[in-house]
Amino acid sequence: MMDLWHIYTHMFRSRLFEEAVARAWQAGRIMGEMHSSIGEEAIAAATVLQLKEGDAMLLDHRGTAPLVIRGVDMALLYREFLGHPDGLCGGKGGHMHLFSRPHLAASSGIVGATGPLAAGFALAAKRLRPGNVALAYFGDGAMNQGMLLESFNLAAAWKLPVLFICKDSHWAITTETEQVTGGNLIERVRGFGIPAEYAEGWDVERLWPLVQKALVHIRDGKGPFFIHATCVHLEGHFLGDPLIRVFRHPLKEARKLTSPLLAALSLKSSDSVSHRKERLEYLLKTIGKAAKQRREDDKDPVKRLRKKLLAENKNRLKEVEQQIRTEIDHIISQVERYEKEAKR
């Protein structure tokens, strides 16, 4: 049963948590890259909230939202990001390698690996937990990775209970996936004998019934299903994405980017300047597209659902949100207090 209020709670909680994580990252308290799942909350909620005990989740480099929604302790996640020995994985994994055995949730930072991993979990489910499924999350860029393609075939040939979820952001880092991808993703997957359907991934109301249908199909032993859901990574590829930074801090960042380009433009060489200008324009256009596309509010799944619920019951919404805000604040401040004490 699709309960939008319930769904919103989860999406909003995940969003708030990831925003808190982003602040910690921005404050220099989290090392390295940080790929957030901000913008993917509808996909995460529509899938995770329909899982049963014993279902498995195979997560890519954006595992936070599914884990939060699945009920993994946010304090454990936050501590993991901070590299704390009491984190979800003792600080050994970090945000790209999140593992929670009780939730049958595992991650990989290798693009495309979630497909075959899920096939393995599904194979085990078939023997040990009939009726259970394995979810594989991956992006549009992953759709060209051989082992993922192989896993479509393996799942089809063995009729494995896998739900493949392609979160199509149209981008893989700085590459527009369309420019390096032949054909059409739905057709591609159907070519492996797997039913494949599309839904706008920012619209949880459309996604939910599609996921429901897919899970019925899979739990009935009819083999894998593929869902193609679009989404927008509102924070860009990762926090501090240079393509976004250029627009957010043009003075500071644009020079870094443009000065080598301008240098290239003025290089002595046989190549015509007009040619080179063209290429420069191509790069600038790409950057522009990336930044623009990532600011489209109507494709923010949380804002979108919020609008609807706001119209439905403003007070209830405020209340719900306030409660979650308090919850997240509490978790974050507890971890921080604990951290400080540990340091003393």
Partner: protein, 344 residues
């Protein structure tokens, strides 16, 4: 005591383990036919023929192991593991570490290795040193039926990923499949003493990480694994006639290396000759040199390994793989020139 061939012993130990533990499954290309006896016993639920997509089914093996099964994934020849190396390097070997020790991967990768029968450089590699470079993987290379069965049992119980390597020259069934193919007019060196032998009535695990002294001696230690053990034996017999007493250490496990046994033998004889069918550089022979150095063991050292891509033509192939002449010559050098490292 019974007598079995090398290949029979592996399948027999595996079969008996499968009788006892429902979680063990076998998957790989052509396994219903190649493991016909096991297939006949357990059927397609537990003996699964795969598509030719090593990356997907080895990665799926990792997933299945995490999800509660004990998969024996067959990679027909270790050469082909290159298309699935990510499954070992970035997944099988790392999940336990990433998860802070919370999640183990009880996976056995069974694969044929070794050359000498004319299959050329993409089908005759050994690669045990290559795989052993990866922390988190165990690599075993049995040299006789008893060890073959016992190590299979140990691998199944190891609770962490084990690459189980089956030297083709030891395995009647691989030889029949790939080399003789019904012909009896093909001749090449075979490690006959290792191809058939006594095995216990009831299989017991042979501990992983423990070498075995095949022959005691005082003047010189051969260190080898798989088919090379028999090359060393031949040379040792020759040396014996000349009054030289050679010790032979069969490593059985490449990683974790049995450093104690190596050091003990080196301390005794003061001369180490590593015979290694895998590539010479950056591999097993180097690792042995390093542990000798680290432990300050005074000894002279030589190695006879495969130095380049294995050629097809039989005479070139024989020269390229460690052969008895090359081993004998290296042994003579060691004996003549004790080197400045030799204990007085």
């Amino acid at each position: 005591m019974k007598r079995m061939t090398f290949a029979e012993a592996i399948d027999d130990a595996l079969l008996s383990a499968m009788e006892e533990d429902e979680r063990i499954i076998v998957l790989g290309e052509d396994v219903p036919m190649l493991r016909a006896r096991i297939f006949a016993r357990f059927g397609k639920e537990r003996v699964l023929g795969t598509p030719i997509s090593e990356a997907a089914f080895l990665t799926a093996g990792v997933g299945a192991a995490m999800a509660g099964l004990i998969p024996v994934v067959e990679i027909m020849m270790v050469d082909f593991i290159a298309v699935a190396a990510d499954a070992l390097l970035n997944h099988a070997a790392k999940v336990e570490a990433f998860s802070g020790g919370n999640w183990k991967v009880p996976l056995v990768v069974r694969t044929a290795c070794g050359g000498g029968y004319g299959d050329g450089g993409q089908h005759e590699q050994s690669l045990w040193g290559w795989l052993s470079h990866i922390p988190g993987l165990a690599v075993v290379v049995p040299s006789n039926p008893a060890d073959a069965g016992g190590l299979m049992l140990a691998a199944l119980r190891y609770g962490a990923p084990v690459v189980y390597m089956e030297h083709k020259l030891l395995s009647e069934s691989w030889l029949d499949f790939l080399a003789f193919a019904g012909r009896d007019n093909i001749h090449f060196w075979l490690p006959e003493e290792g191809m058939k032998g006594d095995v216990p009535d009831v299989w017991e695990p042979v501990p992983i990480g423990k070498a075995r002294t095949v022959k005691k001696g005082t003047d010189l230690s051969f260190i080898a694994a798989g088919a090379d053990v028999y090359r060393c034996l031949e040379v040792a017999r020759q040396l014996e006639k000349e009054g030289v007493s050679a010790e032979i250490l069969d490593l059985r496990t490449i990683s974790p290396l049995d450093v104690e046994s190596i050091v003990t033998s080196a301390q005794k004889t003061g001369r180490i000759l590593v015979v290694d069918e895998d590539y010479k550089r950056f591999g097993l022979s180097g690792e042995i040199a390093a542990v000798l150095h680290e432990r300050n063991v005074p000894c002279a050292y030589r190695r006879v390994c495969t130095e380049e891509t294995i050629p097809y033509a039989h005479n070139l192939e024989r020269e390229t793989l460690p052969n008895c002449q090359r081993i004998l010559q290296a042994a003579r050098e060691l004996l003549e020139n004790e080197g400045p490292n030799r204990h007085p």
